[in-house]
Amino acid sequence: MEFSSLYVKEGRAINKAKGSLLVAESIPGVRFNEIVDVQLASGEVKSGQAIDISKEAIVVQVFGGVSEVDLIGSRIRYKGETLRLPVSMDILGRVFNGMGDPIEGGPRVIPEEYLDINGEPINPAMRQPPAEFIETGISAIDGLNALVRGQKLPIFSASGLPHNRIVAQLIRQATVKGREEAFALVFGAIGVSYDDASFFMRNLERTGALERTVAFINTASDAVIERISTPRLALTAAEYLAWRHNMHVLVILTDMTNYCEALRELSSMREEIPSRRGYPGYMYTDLATMYERAGMISGREGSVTIMPILTMPDDDITHPIPDLTGYITEGQIVLSRNLERKGVYPPIDVFLSLSRMMKEGIGPGKTREDHNNVFMQSYAAYAEGSYLREISTIIGAEALSERDNIYLRNADEFETKFIAQGEWEKRTVEETLDIGWRLFSALPQEDLKLIKEDFIKKYLPERQE
């Protein structure tokens, strides 16, 4: 991170220190939320933020581990600026840390401009409704939870599940049909292990995507406070590429659970009244101000698509982190430990997964006319089969009718043929839909009531034995 202005003011008289909070005597001209430098008695300099200003006192939150003893007698330099990221097209191909400084040894970016890392909200009346289908080549996504440009679609994972491999596959394969446009990837790693970060970087390198990528990396050993700025830096870079340079930008943020933990830590340092399980009451708004930066704008070329990855603590989807995320994003791809155990890759739980922008992105001229019907009928059949599977574990499959047994088998096949695919297998959306039809052909035809009769005539293959 750089600051475009010189230090403007300096204050010293510090009355109190509590945790990482400093109470300093008020000096005029300090801005709410501005960034400050705190010079500790030892001479070491930490950064901080003026989180409450009044004519009586200024409360500064100091970033990075400090003790109260360090803070006594420290000096504060006010810079009159909020956090900004220097940008130009030279950021492409570069790797930065959570403060926006290059970490791969390259030169500093010569900035074209400095952008506030909080961005500005898009006027909802000026948004273009997202409707361009992104073909990921993954059936469980394309067929049942289609992703479109400008959408925010997270992956809800859990420890030990292959979310990184799925995202890497998605990055390798994703295309928008019939289009060769300026495309860029922004990667934000938040509190992840060194291995996870380098897995992505290696992958990008291997597919030659690195020069179209901007990466912001905050590893588990980096300062916790930088976890707050890392995703914002990534989104600021993405907006710059999308709105200034008409690029289609995909933002991958991993692992947002670490972000939320950092937010909780900060909030408890500020002694705020916590909401559910200690997370701050404003976490919804905080996450929303980031995820809402996805979208398309009418009359403009570019787009920002966001795919955050988070791990659900205790595999619990009702935990505040996935829960609040689900309330903000336009659906979610949920990974299942159950399917993983059965050896299904990608282990996508299609019941819990959802893409809310799907219907705008699919259909004639976009994917295929029967897409929506195949999608609905597949869910209905799989739901039926899964329900019967539950019952049959108690009473045994023999006690079910012949019809029920068909559904039981169908649910298994759905998992092994439709959901499961190779990590290097790229299916076109037509191939995906055709697999759906092959599975339908085993069902009683009069049960296909969610499909238009014309489509049944046109697409249903001969019954397979």
């Binding site: 005029p28 001209g29 300090v30 709410f32 909080n118 009346a125 273009q128 909401s275 009702t318 079910l400």
Partner: protein, 583 residues
Amino acid sequence: MGKIWRVSGPLIIADDMKGSQVYEVVEIGEEGLVGEIVGLEGDRAVIQAHEDTLGLRTGEVVTGTGMILSVELGPGLVGSIYDGLQKSLLTLGEQIGPFIRRGVKATPLPRDKKWQFTPRVKEGDAVGQGDIIGVVPETELIEHRIMVPPGIRGTVKEIRKGDHTVEEPIAWVAQNGDVKELTLLQRWPVRKPRPYKERFDPAGLLTTGMRILDYMFPLALGGRASIPGGFGTGKTVALQQLARWAQTHLNIYVGCGERGNEMADVLSSFRELKDPNTGRLLQEKEIFLANTSNMPVVAREASIFVGVTMAEYFRDMGYDVLLVADSTSRWAEAMREMSGRLEEMPGEEGFPAYMGSRLSSFYERAGMVECLGNPGRQGSVTVAGAVSPPGADFSEPVTQNTLRIVDALYALEVTLANKRHFPAISWLTSYSLYVDAVKDWWNERDPGWEDTRAGALKVLQQEAELEEIVRLVGPEALPEDDKLLLLVARMIREDFLQQSAYHEVDTYCMPAKAGLMLKTIMKFYDLAREMLDAGAGIETIRSSPMVYRISRMKDIPNEEFEQRAKELWSEMEENLTTGKRGS
């Protein structure tokens, strides 16, 4: 003029504010951010800022406007898109491009546009509050009725037919030697309910085109409903469907702390979709308010009250208005945040103790009324609010407080949504206390309504009871009549209750069609029971082609349905009795 003394997020304290009043609107700092005084201590004012306070400094000026937070009312509202403070978002877009910047002003009603005003009273007529003095054809669907504002009573001295802007005088009323000028534009403070002559109980069906509402859990004109549900269960789609198809005169859609893309979707669909009754574009009967989750938190509350004040204004013209708010939980969270900043005593889960009364001060503004003024007329405001309970747990404070206020509950269930049973409204836990209020409405059109409805709900209830047994012994071990019951329950769920918002025909189902659809299924049940009694096996019934035919009823257009249902019935009589004979 005061000065900023303290800034802490959206909370601002200013001193030298003598002479201000609580709820007065103030302009803060060099950029003139909009704020509202929420407390006064001596000459110090506690202010909530409706715009982002980043970068403000102590000592910056704070100016009182002398006004309390109000809306502009007049021609130009319909079809508009506003933020929570009633700034026109399209005007903002033209002025400053696609991103929102704080401090920029955009008047709610266009100032230069001329409206064609036709008087309904003449010189010498005595007029008083609420009297309609003339009309403006605002859209093809909405005749904007210009009413005498409160506090004015006298004789019309002059009234001008013709084209006028909202600020030009259109009439002069002599009142106790004084002359009052009237314009098309009026203002009303958002937190103050508009007056009416008399209030009635909600009555008559608010037709929504959604079968599970209209037939099973009806909403009455002037009623209050809540739609709670976990994320992705279908709150927004349900509210959008209501705002699209409700057979009211005007609908108001409030997007409160929710998604920008959703707003974009709503806006574009309303520019294309047509009202089923009039064939006109939906945006000719709609007002949109959008304060998305990334817009200032404090303005969420404003968006709700701005919306409901507009609703009352159109009600006062004698219209039936529906307001939907998505999501009231985001507003409650804004209250919690502000209350925390004010260091108030936190109540349950940190929400302020006054949350319940604040919520009810919104829902209470729904109702059916006899409007003030001449000619005599009735109008109504119906309100439906989404609630977003954390973890889909309905025991949380916002859901619980809301349930104390509303009379219809549409409970969305995660398990149904996961199976893609939409609308995911639970038929077991939802309720409507308006069944009596719409009884006459239904009985006039569908004499068997109460029985059919009760019969179907009973089947669903019995299915739920059987479910436990099924899990133990399997469906095939049940007696034949229970197997039939399960089949019929499934038909009710899948062929009647399920209704896709995206199906070109089924998205809007006329009440007449809904009634016939359910009667057809219940008729099937009767005939099938007779067959069982006559010794036919359940397999004969399950494999009857009628099961498939019934499942396709949704595809039949509303207008053709009556005819096609007749055919279906005679086929059914034939088919299911043949089966009986054949067994």
